[in-house]
Amino acid sequence: MEVFNPNPTVFAPTKSHRVAQFAKPHSLWLNDADSDQEGEYEDESNEVEAIDQDEIFELIRSISDPEHRSMSLEQLAVVSAPQITFDLKFPDRVTVEFTPTVPHCGMSTFIGLSIRVRLLRSLPERYKIDIKVKPGSHQSEHALNKQLNDKERVAAALENPALLEVLEQCLSTASLNA
């Protein structure tokens, strides 16, 4: 296999963005650690917590890079929370931008695909996702974007067993308990 970037720059992954606060949001009171065993379910109210940038980022940050399996897309700064944006007119339309580590990265299609699949599986159906490479970050930017957003091509790709296997491997690291 051709190596596109043998020695990419590594970035320190941040802790999960929604670290357990020692305080309930908007509360005067500190949680009584052992006030009740069901601590983790304290909030039984069903007030809506909307899906936001960070939550979507949580979904994709730990996908592994196809070329450097030991590293996550976040570590290689391929994805980041600010690169996830909501359409102001239609809040259910999301654009996820990613940044290949090198402009000639032949893995970019695959990375985009893995992001798409992860989101297809993990976001409510009402969301319509566009996946794009960061403008100017890839030599064949247009072709890449076009391909990643052609639902027919994506569907066909997902019926290719060989490709699907690698995909599952890269997704297998994607977990929310990072």
Binding site: L28, S35, Y41
Partner: protein, 1034 residues
């Protein structure tokens, strides 16, 4: 003589064991000799017929095998005879058997031994024998090598060559184990310098071992056995080195991951034997191959093995007597490898920098000289890099690498208290860059880690330097503490913790004052979110920092003073505090901090906790009692039950560590306060109680605020040793009083529970038989069915009863069962049936009151005993009790019981439980459903086939009901939705694909809805579940 002849004839005909035994018997008895046997065999031994000859020899061999050694005379004759029989293809096998028994005879002479070997070499055609026969040959040689080594040595080359051609091409694992053992002896003991190549061929041809033991292997030989035996050959002689290394290299580059790991492990044992010369010659080649495994690792395991082998290689090269010389010039591998890595480290931010550092860190633990050399190279390089203005943006990764090196140097086995720390020469520069690194957000984390490494390195930093470190860390506090990300705070704390372990002074003199002064004296108002977050952060620092005795003492003094100041501000009255809640919240978090710190110390069994019975508790009592007394009803923060609860926690924690007589004193004053209205007795502190004030919390007319203080009273009672007698005339009466109070007088749940805890605890430690019988006889519980009473009261009765039952059950008291039975009798009550049912579980549920630390009397396995009795009854009831209402009550009991006992108690009954649990999931009570799902989760074990079979049986109904319970439309409880999804997530690992694949599409479609749940926590589980179902395939 004739008798022998007869025996021989019959045997030749029958081949039965008896004749052999009889013959042996005769010989042992002295009535015959082996020679007679030979004579008797005469005709057969010389017979024309092959089979007869074979039988003849076989008979003799069998006799010899069974013969006591002392009866075997004329060794040599027999040996020669058997050797002779080796020439005859028909008698080879029995002859081998014979020899096998002869060679172990003590009387065997060296010449005989040599003859046997020669005969074997000359006549035995291994190819012609089956493995079990070849095994005999190996055993013969093995015995001879063991017993007559010197004799065989004299044979010289003849023996070696003979053996080599004999052992060549052996395939059977059992034979190989012997062959390897023999080969090892040859390699070590015999003069084999001219035959290395041959021996190499008959050993290395088996490397790597790919043998997979057959399922029905009678000898149970494992791959590991063979690997081990073979390795002991491969590392038997340095002479193998030149031949072996190329082979290893080939396996390393070409082999599968398994082969690679095998090769690496083998290299680890071989290299030291092959010696530094061989290692030197092949250093480059080896390093280049190992490098691949480290820089483009196939998998983490192989990577770390490759690192280790690298260490071994370096040790082999430089470990020699010359290598020991500290300051010798390092040439060759270590130098080159170091330079390789340093080249890569020019770009510390790149991914390759990590493995490069790993290599350097590995070097640090090889030999003193290399370790020194490596640090000489790496540390200055990194420091230079850090200080290079063009590299500013790479400071964070640079420090990461530096920190790794520091830790490696610290952990290096070469680092003992005798030798000065390897890092000593660079101490100042390193300390310098690290403290600079502290000041930058991006690099501070790595800097802290590095400093922690230095602080924890013995004899590295002087006291004043520790002070310097602490000082610089304190600088971080002068910034807004809330700015730090969680991991930075953690790093700061663990660093300070490391320091305070060595020199608490620095922390207590500089850090703590800083933190304490940053705590406001007046609670920030409701709106001041950030202020609040700030003091929360500060407090969380303090509670984790002040565990060490001196620091803790400081914490107690400062915080309790602060507490008094906040709760009873001098000169202010309630009117001045329009919104008291933020004040209460602030006070609460301070108490919380104290409680958590104490809890931590108790957990660590710190000996200084008991003294706070006098130093802390009286202040707390003082504060709360004072507030309760002066408030005459209106709100004073210290009267807030939330604060009282935390103080109660502290009381229990501290008092439980005190010795019995100390507790006795304390409890005396406590009772004086609560029963005799002398609050001063337990208090101490600057709040003076008003003269006219009456403190009598147990009085029926007491104010709620006073009644709330029962929490503190109970908190003390539950912590007592069982020897401690209560300072009352009659404990039974006291318990009764408390019981009445808890049912009839208590104003709220808190008071109610507190008093029940006290009752339960006292009952458990100091069983009051009279009290018990009275309760049972009068069936006190029956009043729970009294419809005349208010429902809440009736519920309290049940709860109180449950706590009493618990107290007895835990210590397996004989009356416990009767208490339980009373509860079961209530199941059918339409109002409180379910409460009684739930109580069954509470009886054995874990709680914070009846614990070992609280000196409760707890019998081993009491919960199992309980469920062994109750579970069958309850299952029976749930299945076939009369009306459905009763059945459901039993179902409730089942779910609550099963939730509170270890799964071992019911696992064996899963098959009968499963249908009931499924019914439980339809009961209109999310608490119950939660219990059921928790249980199902607890028994969901992908590895245990048995349980999964039961799951498979009910798979589709489980899927259906779980889907129902995870939809927000149908299930309001967040908790139930979450665990229902968790169960759906594990299902695929429990059930074979063919069972559930028809549901897959539907489940995925349904789970898609849960992805849109209003709660984030639910969506999180939904994602996991859906992912697993996507992966689920045949």
């Amino acid at each position: 003589m004739d008798s022998i002849q007869r025996l021989v004839r019959t045997w030749v005909a029958s081949g039965r064991q008896e004749e052999i035994q009889e013959t042996v018997g005769a010989i042992s008895a002295g009535s015959a000799s082996l020679l007679d046997v030979v004579k008797a065999l005469g005709e057969y031994l010389t017979a024309e017929e092959d089979e007869l000859r074979n039988k003849g020899v076989d008979f003799l061999s069998l006799v010899i095998a069974a013969c006591p050694s002392d009866k075997i005379n004329r060794q040599s004759v027999l040996v020669q005879f058997m050797c002779g029989k080796l020439e005859d293809t028909e008698t080879v096998i029995p002859a081998l058997k014979g020899l096998n028994s002869l060679v172990v005879q003590p009387a065997l002479t060296s010449p005989d031994a040599v003859d046997v070997v020669k005969a074997l070499f000359m006549h035995v055609k291994m190819r012609a024998l089956v493995q079990s026969q070849r095994f005999i040959v190996y055993s013969i040689i093995d015995s001879l090598v063991a017993k007559h080594r010197e004799a065989l040595k004299t044979m010289g080359n003849e023996f070696i060559t003979g053996y080599v051609s004999l052992a060549e091409g052996e395939k059977d694992p059992r034979n190989l184990l012997v062959a390897f053992a023999i080969a090892r002896v040859l390699l070590i003991e015999f003069d084999v310098k001219h035959y290395i190549e041959q021996l190499f061929n008959i050993t290395f041809c088996y490397f790597p071992i790919t043998f997979r033991p057959p399922p029905d292997d009678p000898y149970g030989i494992t791959t590991e056995d063979l690997k081990k035996a073979l390795r002991e050959c491969l590392d038997a002689t340095p002479a193998f080195g030149p031949l072996a290394i190329p082979l290893f290299l080939e396996k390393l580059t070409a082999g599968s991951p398994v082969t690679k790991r095998d090769t690496l492990q083998t290299l680890d044992v071989c290299l030291p034997v092959y010696g530094s010369l061989v290692a030197k010659e092949n250093a480059r080649k080896l390093w280049n191959t190992l490098k691949l495994e480290i820089f483009q690792p196939t998998d983490p395991e192989t990577e770390s093995m490759a690192l280790h082998t690298t260490q071994v290689l370096v040790q082999t090269i430089y470990g020699g007597p010359t290598g020991a010389a500290q300051d010798q010039e390092i040439e060759g591998l270590a130098k080159d490898a170091c330079e390789d890595c340093l080249k890569i480290l020019k770009e510390p931010e790149k991914s390759q920098a990590k493995p490069a550092t790993k290599v350097l860190c590995a070097f640090v633990s090889t030999t003193p000289s290399v370790s020194k050399f490596t640090l000489n190279q790496a540390v200055p390089h990194l420091i230079k890099l850090f200080l290079n203005p063009d590299e500013i943006q790479n400071r964070a990764p640079t420090l990461r690498l530096l920190a790794d090196l520091i830790h490696a140097a610290r952990q290096s086995p070469l680092q003992d208290s005798a030798t000065p720390p390897a890092l000593l020469p660079y101490k100042d520069e390193v300390l310098g860059v690290l403290t600079v690194g502290l000041t930058n957000v991006s690099s501070s984390l790595n800097a802290l880690d590095g400093l922690n490494g230095m602080v924890t390195t013995d004899n590295l930093l002087f006291d004043d330097e520790l002070g310097f470190v602490v000082h610089n860390v304190n600088e971080l506090f002068t910034k807004d503490v809330t700015e730090h990300s969680e991991d930075v705070s953690d790093a700061i704390l663990s660093l300070l913790a490391s320091v305070s372990a060595i020199a608490p002074r620095h922390v207590s003199e500089t850090t703590l004052p800083l933190l304490f002064t940053s705590l406001p004296d007046i609670a920030p108002p409701r709106t001041a979110e950030s202020e609040r977050l700030k003091y929360w952060t500060t407090l969380s620092f303090l509670k984790r920092l002040c565990i060490q005795p001196d620091l803790f003492e400081m914490l107690v003094i400062r915080l309790s003073t602060k507490l008094d100041l906040i709760c009873v501000p001098s000169g202010t009255t309630l009117q001045d505090v329009p919104d008291p809640e933020p004040v209460a919240a602030y006070a609460h978090s301070i108490l919380r901090t104290l409680a958590d710190a104490v809890a931590k110390k108790v957990e660590l069994d710190h000996p200084d906790v008991p003294k706070y019975v006098d130093r802390l508790l009286p202040c707390l009592f003082n504060l709360h009692m004072y507030s309760a007394l002066v408030s005459n009803g209106d709100y004073l923060v210290a009267t807030d039950p939330r604060l009282v609860s935390v103080s109660a926690e502290i009381v229990t924690l501290v008092l439980q560590t005190a010795a019995a007589q100390k507790q006795e004193q304390f409890i005396k004053s406590l009772f004086a306060a609560y029963l005799d209205g002398l609050p001063q007795a337990v208090t101490e502190g600057h709040h003076k109680f008003p003269e006219d004030a009456v403190f009598s919390p147990l009085a029926s007319d007491a104010s709620t605020l006073q009644k709330n203080l029962i929490l503190l009273f109970s908190a003390a009672l539950v912590a007592l040793h069982k020897e401690v007698a209560l300072p009352v005339p009659e404990e039974g009466l006291f318990l009764d009083k408390l019981l009445q109070w808890s049912v009839n007088q208590a104003d709220n749940k808190l008071q109610n529970e507190a008093s029940e805890h006290a009752i339960s605890s006292v009952l458990n430690k100091r069983v009051e038989e009279a009290f018990l019988t009275n309760k049972l006889e009068s069936n006190w519980l029956a009043r729970a069915t009294d419809t005349g009473l208010a429902l809440p009261i009736r519920r309290r009765v049940i709860l109180a009863w449950a706590w009493m039952t618990k107290a007895l059950q835990v210590r397996s008291h004989p009356s416990a069962q009767r208490f339980t039975d009373r509860l079961v009798e209530l199941f059918n009550d339409s109002d409180i049936g379910w409460d009684a049912a739930r109580a069954i579980g509470q009886v054995v549920s874990t709680d914070k009151v009846l614990t070992k630390r609280n000196h409760a009397v707890i019998k081993f396995l009491y919960a199992q005993k309980f469920s062994n009795v109750m579970l069958p009854r309850i299952i029976e009831g749930a299945k076939s009790a009369g009306e459905p209402r009763l059945q459901n009550a039993y179902l409730v009991a089942l779910t609550s019981l099963i939730k509170s006992v270890p799964k071992s108690a019911y696992l064996h009954q899963m098959s009968s439980l499963m249908p009931l649990l499924l019914r439980g999931l339809d009961l209109p009570d999310s608490e119950i459903r939660a219990n059921v799902i928790d249980t199902l989760l607890a028994v969901a074990d992908p590895t245990a086939k048995s349980s999964s079979n039961i799951v498979s049986e009910h798979a589709s109904s489980l899927v259906a009901t779980m889907l129902k319970n995870c939809m927000v439309r149908e299930m309001p409880s967040v908790r139930v939705r979450v665990i229902a999804l968790r169960y759906l997530a594990v299902l695929p690992s429990l059930v074979k694909y063919d069972v559930l694949h028809p549901q897959k599409a539907m489940v995925l479609r349904e789970l898609a809805k849960t992805l849109d749940d209003p709660k984030r926590s639910v969506r999180k589980e939904a994602v996991e579940a859906r992912t697993n179902w996507y992966k689920y395939s045949g």
